[in-house]
């Protein structure tokens, strides 16, 4: 899972997210993978989509400034408002590009505040209280997502796992984005940058 998180973080950075948001992407993808949900695949879809909108927050309805709403930016904004989300009257995020990527942020808010929260969209439903439940039939949106207080006793329990087997196409795609964070190599940088040039063999 450390490797999953690191790859997701670097890929998000390579795709143009700030380091702070890339860190959020890494955590979110790790969380999804650790409950057997396709976090890496959904991040790959999100990154392939290109630029998405930042939320305009007007009361209980969040809309994108332009295009579909970015679930990573919106998720981080939700997490930054943890108390308001946990104890408020619920709200709707319009046209979220990949709703599944929002889910880890809501799970984190529920855990942090000890509250019961639900995330619902037409093709997915999750509930977080003492346990974590939910299912999603579609990885991609856009879809309107509702975040509200509540439980979901009828939803299936999420299955924790320690390993995530990523499809090769996903890991290749994320690795290609991650690659953009690496500086091209030159012989000069190889020698000076790592500090070699002195014999290390005696």
């Amino acid at each position: 899972m450390n490797e999953v998180e690191a790859l997701a973080r670097k890929a998000a950075r390579g795709a143009g997210f700030s380091w702070g948001l890339a860190e959020e992407a890494g955590r979110a993808v790790r969380w999804l993978a650790s409950v057997s949900l396709p976090g890496p695949e959904t991040l790959a879809t999100r990154l392939e989509r290109g630029s998405c909108g930042t939320p305009l927050i007007k009361g209980a309805v969040w809309t994108a400034e332009a295009g579909p709403l970015c679930p990573l930016i919106a998720g981080a904004a939700l997490a930054d408002r943890a108390e308001a989300v946990a104890y408020g009257d619920g709200g709707t995020l319009r046209q979220v590009a990949e709703p599944l990527l929002l889910v880890p942020f809501v799970a984190a808010i529920a855990a942090q505040t000890g509250t019961a929260l639900r995330v619902d969209w037409p093709e997915g439903a999750f509930a977080f209280a003492a346990d974590a439940r939910g299912a999603s039939v579609s990885l991609t949106g856009p879809a309107d997502v509702r975040v509200s207080a509540g439980t979901g006793p009828d939803l299936p329990l999420l299955a924790c796992q320690l390993r995530y087997v990523m499809p090769a196409a996903t890991s290749d795609l994320l690795a290609a984005y991650a690659h953009r964070t690496y500086a091209p190599d030159t012989e000069a940088s190889r020698l000076s940058g790592a500090g070699a040039g002195l014999s290390d063999n005696d």
Binding site: L21, A76, A82, G193, A194
Partner: protein, 565 residues
């Protein structure tokens, strides 16, 4: 705990602005809270048992071995592969592809199928793949000059030359020890709830401890191959003088910046320990004598400590002078009443250099295991606990935190090219961190977030022009500051989390960061080979597994005061 009841109002731990300076961090020494020390104390107190389960090495020194450590609940096995490496392939660089020996630490006792699987992968290191049954992966190269000397001496019935052992200090040096989830190995989260792995880096320290035992057995085995009739084992007292070397490069330096909560855990434990000792209202005469003896042993250690690096030679000269001055002072100072250790500390701050001051921190803790050892397990950190940004915090409060934690950075002129001369980046070729010259190479677009001071100054400028009230509004408007907002909030809660110094200045010495980290491992004899990589020695003077039962498992890091070396 008895001491605590008699303590005067406690002395506060040192100011983070004093402690978290790179020059001071680059003068840290191992102490009794170091991770090797914690591990050996546990072996002793829990009666760990060690056995060589397999030693299949041929006359050329090629083969495999299994060394198993049995704790109260779990067993762990070093699986070692010894190779016959042509000299031209021997390199400590991370880009090497072959080594004299390769290792993994197996969770439990491996069966034949495990060993065959590992034989296919461990010798390849990064190019192979291990599983969640493996906890870490490592490799080592011989010190060719010492190895050949020891084998030929032992083969002819002679002991190796003590001077030569002193000059090198080890028969093999590890060039990497990879833990936690690297190359398929188990994540730390999978084992961190076991008591033996609660403290940081215990997997890696166990791994290296078993490597040392294997290497000493291997060198004696090779001597017997060469001189079956004449070979002798190494004299036990001489054997102890061999540690395991390690070559650590720039790749490790970002660790301290990437794990702020953990860094706080380490430094806070040591500073809390120092404050507890300084707070003692009085000191027994045997404790005072103990410190006098420790200072002399530390002086001997400093005499044995070799380096060819000009900066380290200067530091060693200063350290030896500091220890001589400290020794002289201790002969006449009143060390028994009126908070003697606190008075000694104030004397040291006014008299000694950074090397001497930080050595004294370590020495002051030595007689007080009962007062400070309980801090050891708490040096691990739940990094997730402080990770979430508190968006409800006011912008005004974040400004105040920035002034408090990064005041030095707000006072820095970042338009001066020397202030931001360096760039931390990751190279395409080997995916390892490197340090480049911002104003000479086109690498700034690839900069890693390892310059919190500069980033905090940029954030502060935007905070001062921001007209909304909350941090949540600020991070939404300024996603580029999200990383440093998180760091600032962590540092506000955990004061030793942040290096309060410039990590990208033209004057940066990455070896300062390496030494700080390695001192917490318990390493000694830091020998920088440039400004960005360092050789160290691990477990020098430590008892071997078979000796743990009969000896003090905690009084080994400083050489004894007896005759000779």
């Amino acid at each position: 705990m008895q001491h605590e009841a008699t303590q005067s109002p406690g002395i506060a731990p040192r100011d983070p602005a004093t402690v978290m300076q790179l020059a001071r961090m680059g003068s840290f020494h191992q102490c009794r809270l170091s991770f090797m020390r914690q591990l050996l104390r546990r072996f002793k107190s829990e009666n760990w048992r060690f056995e060589v389960r397999l030693f299949e090495i041929d006359a050329n020194g090629v083969g495999r071995a299994v060394y198993t450590a049995h704790g109260p609940q779990n067993s762990y096995s070093l699986v070692a592969f010894a190779h016959d490496l042509p000299p031209e392939m021997r390199s400590d660089r991370v880009i090497a592809t072959a080594w004299d020996a390769t290792f993994t630490l197996f969770d439990g006792i491996p069966d034949a199928a495990d060993l065959d699987r590992l034989a296919q992968n461990v010798p390849l290191q990064e190019a192979g793949r291990v599983s969640e049954r493996e906890l870490s992966l490592a490799r080592a190269n011989r010190s060719v000059r010492l190895w050949d000397h020891v084998v030929s001496r032992l083969a002819t019935g002679q002991q190796p030359d003590a001077e030569k052992i002193r000059d090198v200090g080890y028969l093999m040096r590890t060039t990497a020890v990879y833990g936690s989830g690297k190359f398929g190995a188990a994540d730390r989260e999978a084992t961190c709830n076991r008591p033996e792995f609660k403290a940081p880096f215990q997997v890696e320290m166990l791994h290296v401890y078993l490597i040392r035992a294997f290497v000493m057995d291997l060198v004696e085995f090779m001597a017997r191959q060469r001189g079956p009739e004449t070979a002798v084992p190494i004299d036990p007292a001489l054997r102890r003088k061999f540690g395991i070397g390690n070559s650590t490069g720039l790749g490790m330096a970002p660790f301290l910046l990437n794990h702020p909560a953990l860094l706080h855990g380490w430094i806070n434990a040591r500073e809390t320990a120092l404050a507890r000792v300084r707070s003692l209202p009085s000191v027994r005469s045997d404790e005072a004598d103990s410190l006098r003896s420790l200072v002399r042993r530390a002086h001997r250690n400093a005499e044995e400590w070799q380096s060819a690096h000009p900066a380290q030679i200067a530091k060693l000269t200063a350290l030896r002078a500091d220890l001589a001055a400290l020794d002289a002072h201790l002969q006449t100072a009143d060390l028994t009443t009126d908070a003697p250790w606190d008075r000694l500390w104030h004397w040291a701050e006014g008299t000694l250099g950074l090397e001497g001051q930080e050595q004294l921190v370590s020495l002051l803790l030595e007689p007080y295991g009962h007062l400070v050892d309980d801090l050891g397990p708490g040096m691990a950190a739940d990094e997730a606990a402080q990770w979430r940004i508190d968006g409800a915090m006011s912008v005004q409060r974040l400004r105040a935190i920035t002034q408090e934690v990064y005041g030095w950075a707000l006072d820095t002129d970042w338009t001066n090219p020397a202030a931001d001369a360096r760039v931390w980046y990751v190279s395409e070729a080997k995916l390892e961190p490197r340090l480049g010259e911002r104003h000479a190479e086109p690498i700034a677009p690839y900069e890693q977030p390892l310059c919190p001071g500069r980033d905090a100054a940029r954030m502060y400028a935007d905070l001062c022009n921001f007209d909304e009230a909350t941090v949540a509004a600020f991070t939404l408007r300024h996603p580029e500051h999200r990383h440093i907002v998180r760091r600032a909030q962590i540092a506000a809660a955990l004061p030793y989390a942040e290096i309060r110094d410039n990590t990208i200045s033209a004057k940066l010495l990455p070896i300062d960061m390496l030494r700080a980290k390695l001192s917490f491992f318990g390493a000694c004899h830091f020998d920088p080979r440039s400004d960005r990589w360092v050789r160290i020695n691990m477990y020098k003077h430590a008892p071997f597994p078979a000796e743990l039962g009969q000896t003090d498992a905690d009084d080994w890091t400083l050489p004894p005061l007896g005759a000779g070396h």
